[in-house]
Amino acid sequence: MSAKSRTMRKFVYSIINKGLLLLTLACLPRAGVAAYLPDDMQVHGFLAQSLFHTSDNNLFGQSDDGVSLGITEVGLNTSYQPNERLNFAIQGLYRRAGDIDRGSFRVDYGLADLTLWEHDSGRIGIRGGRVKIPLGLYNETRDVAFTHPTILLPQGNYFERSRSLLTSGDGGQFYAERHTDYGDFTFKFNYVLPLGNNKEVRSILLGPYAQGEFTARPTVVTQLSYELNGGEYVFAVSFADLDLQYNRLGEDRFGAGHSLVQPLILSAQFNGEKLTLSAEYNKRRNVTEGYGAALPDRRFSTESWYVEGSYRFLPKWQATLRYDTIVANTGNRNGNGYEFLGLPQHAAFAQDWTVGLRWDITDSWMLRGEYHRVHGTLWLPDADNPDRLRTTQDWDLYGVQTSFRF
């Protein structure tokens, strides 16, 4: 089969996939779903389309001096509970994000959840299959537009570039929940094989000149969270231990090394009637070894944090202000020597001021817009900016998004 007809077939599949999902979504108005399904089975879904424009640099397609079609996300899930100890759940996700992801459908999670012990004050159990990865406040629901206040999550903490590595993984999760009069505790311990390996991850770790591929080894991700007053106050500590092996290819200047990436994330959130305040701090320990002369062995820390305030000034309207910052290496905040990796110095950091406005038109429809003033280019995708040396240090980003859910 020729490459052209393969491409064509892929395109047609993607249209069919998308079309079927959209059709299903349109046919299943929210309240109607319950009426046709048995009580022990549920179906939910979401759809989001965003547009971006930038003053310089590209994000999710050609956004510089134009409008990029941004991100399309369509999800559909179902769960079935044959008995009180066992639950099955699966979610399909279609996603398109500029040149990073030109449109793909995959199983986002697909798991069997077995409750080992349950009491009215809590439960303990295991989930096996493909499970979501608990990191920070938003990682598990990062693709569901309704669950966070702005279109783009704070990029210093929730990279779009490397999302595939830590969105979901194949393996298992042990969990324990305990409800007390002084708050609810949830502990999750994942042992999973991360799904994603792509050029963006390679570029983050080795820069744009690398040619080989990374293979992830089974990874531990764990989170302890504490919620007070039904989620009025939320605190969480998350940790992951990623070990990525590099397989060199062709005339690669890098040897067969490996990289350890160990993020430790502290999260806090206050959810008031009108005001929501969130803050997260992420310190990532990095170890790179065995890449040869092109990249000497080293240990360094990546640091990022953000603070965010959202105010519901009318019941259906929410305004958000956020400051988000990241430095790739706390020992080299200005990116000295980045030119040897084919990167400008401003790829070593990013500081992002964001203002956003969200309108929940109905339970099912939401519309929002936001403006970012960004200093630095650390989280710009290579796919959208093949020549990083031509990116601009200070740039503006505008986005709008509409989303539907049921």
């Binding site: 939910h44 979401f46 769960s79 798991l111 989930r127 007053n229 039904g230 989620g231 959810n271 309207w317």
Partner: protein, 147 residues
């Protein structure tokens, strides 16, 4: 137009204006939490009620699985219920449900269209819990007693 009709018209107009502005009616009352008569009576707390409706507490003390029914997020009675009976805000409980629905770690309550349907469900479903503006006079339904 009769004076009373004019009154109704003005009320309707102000209700429409309020709706357009996203403002609810000025008066907010509490709902009544109701259960099927199969639910064991006991000493429940507000924290229990919260955990049950947030889908965190899944069993009644007798080990039976709790069946939770709710109304739409933008139904006034739902807002009153969350605020006054659970002492939470609708967006807080929505956050708890969404985290379960979209991560495969739990299920959301079954959402019904009307209070009439709610009464029917609570009456006919063993171990069911829900809420209405006023408890109906029905032998199969009783108030959920919590402190």
């Amino acid at each position: 137009m009769q004076p009373s009709d004019r009154g109704k018209g003005a009320f309707r107009a102000s209700a429409i204006v309020c709706c357009c502005l996203g403002l609810g009616p000025p008066v907010a009352g509490a709902a009544e939490i109701i259960v099927n008569d199969s639910v064991p009576s006991g000493h429940y707390s507000r924290a229990d009620a919260r955990a049950i409706f947030a889908m965190r507490q899944r069993l009644w003390p007798n080990g039976e699985q709790i069946k939770v029914f709710t109304l739409a997020d933008d139904a006034q009675i739902h807002k009153d219920f969350v605020k006054n009976n659970l002492s939470m805000f609708p967006h807080q409980i929505r956050r708890a449900w969404d985290r379960m629905i979209f991560t495969g770690t739990g299920v959301a309550p079954i959402q019904l269209d009307s209070e009439r349907e709610m009464i029917e469900k609570i009456m006919n479903t063993p171990n069911a819990i829900g809420y209405v503006s006023k408890k109906p006079d029905n032998a199969k339904i009783r108030l959920f007693d919590y402190q």
